[in-house]
């Protein structure tokens, strides 16, 4: 690690931010079109974020501030570990488990800050978010576990490179279709899209963890949201869709997957949190176990 790494990391963060925020804006447009509306400008998301940052804010104590900083910091650190197509800011650090756990720093910071506001709705939201996490992460990790066992590497770029050797048909989503399905469902949960968005239910618990955020805190949470979306979708792209030999290929795959999930999300209703847990432990977890079993014991798809 030297200074250049950090500069590089900063630039990649910036790129990720610009890309993901634009994509979010475009997707708002896409959703509007689905609903036969005109929709906002494609850069509306930038406006929203900067507006939020520009406003005044209130705080409920140092942990409220500290948590937000910790959350954004943790998420940005995670984003730095993610290979941006073929580009990597920090060498040899794209280990899935590191990413999965560093991601949790951000989650914890956010949860801490939200609960620190003293608003029970925030705590309810956090409780739901964590329960949700317990639901979607297990099937996902299970599938990832199978991949790591099969290819003896837990490096994202390493796994992506292995897929690209076989061309389109080498993608894990083709070779391990069950795992691919599980990953996509889990990603839906990770992104907090419908039907797994009960933790921010705006009308029920006043947007849950975010209930007390305004101004710069809210702006930073929006940033956090963009980065975590970037991390989560990138994970899937790298694990199941062959990553990206070029930045362009990566971004295209990324955009398509994200848009797909967004569209799916907009035609679904919302699960209650216990329904979400039951669902994840019934269908995706069973699929994941079957998939992993096939990989480990039968060796199916490992070549």
């Amino acid at each position: 690690m030297n200074l250049m790494n950090f500069v590089y990391a900063f630039l990649l963060l910036l790129a990720a931010f610009v890309f993901q925020t634009t994509l979010t804006g475009i997707n708002r447009k896409v959703v509007a079109r689905l609903q036969r509306r005109r929709g906002p400008r494609f850069y509306q998301q930038f406006i929203d974020i900067f507006k939020a940052l520009s406003k005044g804010s209130t705080t409920h104590g140092w942990v409220f501030d500290f948590g937000v900083v910790m959350a954004l910091g943790g998420i940005m650190a995670t984003a730095i570990f993610i290979p941006f197509g073929p580009l990597k800011a920090v060498p040899a650090m794209d280990n899935i488990f590191i990413i999965a756990y560093v991601l949790a720093v951000g989650m914890l910071g956010m949860a801490m800050s939200a609960s620190g506001s003293g608003n029970p709705w925030a705590s309810i939201g956090v409780s739901r978010a964590l329960t949700n996490m317990l639901a979607y992460d297990i099937p996902f990790m299970m599938v990832v576990f199978g991949l790591i066992f099969a290819f003896d590497t837990s490096s994202l770029s390493g796994l992506a490179a292995i897929q690209r050797e076989g061309g389109f048909l080498g993608w894990h989503v083709i070779r391990f279709p069950l795992g691919g399905i599980v990953a996509m469902i889990s990603l839906q949960g990770m992104l907090g899209k419908k039907p797994f968005d009960s933790f921010i239910a705006p009308a029920e618990i006043a947007s849950g963890p975010m209930v007390e955020y305004g101004g710069r805190h809210l702006g930073m949470l929006f940033l956090l949201h963009e980065f975590s979306t970037f991390i989560e979708v990138s994970l899937i792209v790298h694990l199941f869709f062959g990553g990206g030999a070029t930045v362009a290929a990566f971004l295209v795959k990324y955009a398509l997957i994200y848009t797909f999930l967004n569209i799916v999300s907009n035609v679904l209703p919302r699960f209650k949190i216990d329904q979400a847990v039951t669902f994840f432990y019934k269908v995706p977890l069973a699929l994941a176990v079957v998939q992993t079993f096939l990989i480990i014991v039968v060796g199916m798809g490992v070549a």
């Binding site: 950090f6 501030d65 560093v102 790591i148």
Partner: protein, 608 residues
């Protein structure tokens, strides 16, 4: 020389502390601090003497790396917790005896890890059991002590049986020699393996022996829970290590059925470990008592440690050895933080607390860092060890273990967050407005533990070096380190880089935060209430039934505790039956039994 002084010093120290306590209670408590710190210093000084042997009375000792490591963990936890003792002197029923037993059990644990022969091992094991048994009931529950003792004894008696059997087979009690003949006898090795490891299983709190942990940890004096959870539970790990490391389990079970390359005997125990992880996690999630919650988390973490040790490989074993240390200090720190809260408020019930961060920020920070480590989140020590364990499992392809490990890992986010949110964050009740923060003497160990947790998360090299030596001694490949990178066969972890990148991210976030307008400070009750006017902080605090929807999913679960209690009740009933059948004030009853016996023997004899 250092180590016999160390062991003898602890027992002398116990007596000294007792005598000093008679004169002045606080001074007695300070004596426990001095002696346990002295033990720590002696251990560090004596590192060069690894390999030496010595005897005390009739007991033989040998200093091994693993023994040194284990006792280091133990003494550290004892020394840090000792700082708290002086604050509970006036609340204990027998403060002098507490100080005595505290150092006495410390002496027992230290001696245990250096035992050269199995009887010495057992002697110290039982010393620890009974001395800690008498500390537990000084807290909130007498029943807890009995359950603790019973479960421990079931384990230690099984192990004693194993020791005797070993002696019968090999003719020696020397730890190294006693297990040697098992190498070529898989059946016998299986029997010994299962019997011998029992003490370990009960002590770690592996399912179905986990029931004593929440009881004993949850109700022991607040100053002893950290020792129980951080320290004594780890003794079980030592026995588990002996059962696979010194008893050459993998060698002996070569011919048996294997699951993913693991002999079925070992795999069976790993399943128990996995069950413990899941069960500990689920139960921890629904606890309302912060101490019980951490106790159940110890059950879950015990499962990790057991699985890793049983694997005896390069990664998971190293991970579990390190997890032992990380869990010890993190769990001790968490218990200490709760102890501070209990000291100030008098309760450990999550639903009765809230907003403690505003009164005791350092305690909050300690708890935060401890639970980050417990949950295995970087950049704390717990992350390194969990990473190693999971990488090891992935290397072996043990998918169901991994499933449990993931569940425990993610589930730990849930349960560690619950006290964080409901005890330290949220609304501060008006009755707690005037609370003072932690006293100075409590801040010292908390700070030290915080620094240690963070330090070994960023620079785990030193510990992993020692673990490497342990692995070499156990005849397995040591964990590989290159600079600050841990090299696993299927991944690399550079903890320093993780920390630096994390710091970088944090810095950017901080810059963004600072650049924007200053915030206006508002009170905790000035929150969005749908514009309802609410003035009661206690009612406006989300503390009880934190994960209610999730808990509802397994509210009606079968409980092994019920089963064990039913078993105990059956024993009680059998006793009553014996009483009713044989004991009466009427001679006729006994005369009847005499005639029965005579008849049975005579008729049986005729039959012969």
């Amino acid at each position: 020389m250092t180590f016999d002084i160390l062991i003898v010093l602890m027992f002398l120290g116990a007596v000294t502390a007792y005598l000093v306590s008679k004169a002045d209670l606080k001074a007695g408590a300070y004596a426990t601090v001095l002696f346990s710190l002295g033990a720590l210093v002696l251990l560090l000084l004596g590192r060069g003497e690894i390999g030496s042997e010595f005897t005390i009375l009739f007991m033989g000792f040998e200093v091994t790396t693993i023994g040194w490591y284990f006792s280091g963990v133990m003494v550290l936890v004892y020394a840090m917790t000792a700082f708290f003792n002086s604050y509970w002197m006036d609340k204990m029923i027998y403060p002098g005896s507490y100080n005595f037993l505290y150092l006495f059990s410390l002496g027992g644990t230290v001696g245990l890890f250096f035992a050269k022969d199995l009887i010495t091992l057992f002697i110290f094991w039982e010393i620890v059991v009974w001395s800690s048994t008498f500390i537990v009931p000084m807290g909130k529950s007498r029943r807890a002590a009995v359950v603790y003792y019973t479960i421990s004894t079931i384990g230690s008696m099984a192990t004693l049986y194993g020791i005797m059997l070993l002696h019968r087979i090999s003719g020696t009690l020397d730890i190294q020699g006693a297990f040697a003949p098992l190498k070529n006898d898989p059946v016998l090795a299986t029997v010994i393996f299962f019997i011998f490891i029992m003490a370990g299983l009960t002590k770690i709190g592996i399912f179905p022996f986990h029931i004593w942990l929440p009881l004993a940890h949850g109700s022991a004096p607040h100053t002893f829970s950290p020792v129980l959870s951080g320290g004594l539970v780890k003794m079980g790990a030592f026995i588990a290590y002996m059962s696979v490391g010194i008893l050459p389990a993998y060698e002996a079970f070569k011919g048996s059925l294997t699951v993913m390359g693991i002999p079925i005997q070992i795999y069976a125990l790993m399943i128990l470990g996995a069950v413990s992880i899941v069960l500990g996690t689920l139960m921890a999630i629904k606890q309302d008592d912060a101490k019980k919650l951490i106790a159940y988390s110890s059950v879950a973490n015990g499962g990790y440690i057991l699985i890793g040790i049983l694997l005896m490989d390069q990664l998971a074993f190293a991970g579990s050895m390190m997890h032992l240390f990380n869990h010890a200090i993190a769990s001790a720190a968490a218990f200490l933080a709760i102890a501070v809260v209990a000291h100030r408020t008098g309760t450990t019930k999550i639903s009765e607390l809230g907003g403690m961060i505003h009164r005791m920020p350092l305690t909050y920070l300690t708890y935060l860092i401890a639970i980050i480590s417990l949950a295995g989140i970087p950049p704390m020590g717990g992350f390194v060890s969990k990473w190693l364990i999971i990488q090891g499992l992935a290397d072996q392809g043990l998918m169901f273990m991994a499933l449990a490990a993931f569940f425990g890992s993610i589930g730990s986010f849930l349960y560690v967050f619950r006290p964080l949110a409901a005890v330290f964050l949220g609304q501060l009740a008006p009755r707690h407005e005037e609370l003072a923060s932690a006293p100075l003497l409590m801040k010292i160990p908390m700070t030290i533990l915080m620094v240690l947790i963070l330090f070994f998360g960023v620079l785990p090299g030193w510990i992993l070096g020692i673990i490497g030596q342990i692995q070499v001694a156990a005849g397995i490949e040591p964990v590989m380190m290159s600079g600050n990178s841990i090299l696993a066969v299927n991944g690399v972890l550079n903890t320093l880089n993780v920390f630096m990148v994390f710091g970088f991210g944090f810095l950017i976030a901080l810059v963004i935060f600072m650049l924007m307008q200053k915030s206006r400070r508002v009170g905790l009750m000035d929150t969005y209430t749908s514009a309802e006017f609410i003035y009661t902080p206690e009612l406006y605090h989300y503390g009880s039934a934190f994960y209610a929807p999730f808990e509802r999913l397994y509210a009606r679960h079968p409980s092994v505790e019920d089963f064990l209690m039913a078993l105990a009740y059956k024993g009680h009933e059998a006793g009553l039956m014996v009483n009713a059948l044989f004991f009466s004030h009427k001679p006729g009853v006994t005369v009847f039994w005499i005639t029965v016996i005579v008849a049975v023997v005579t008729l049986g004899g005729v039959g012969l």
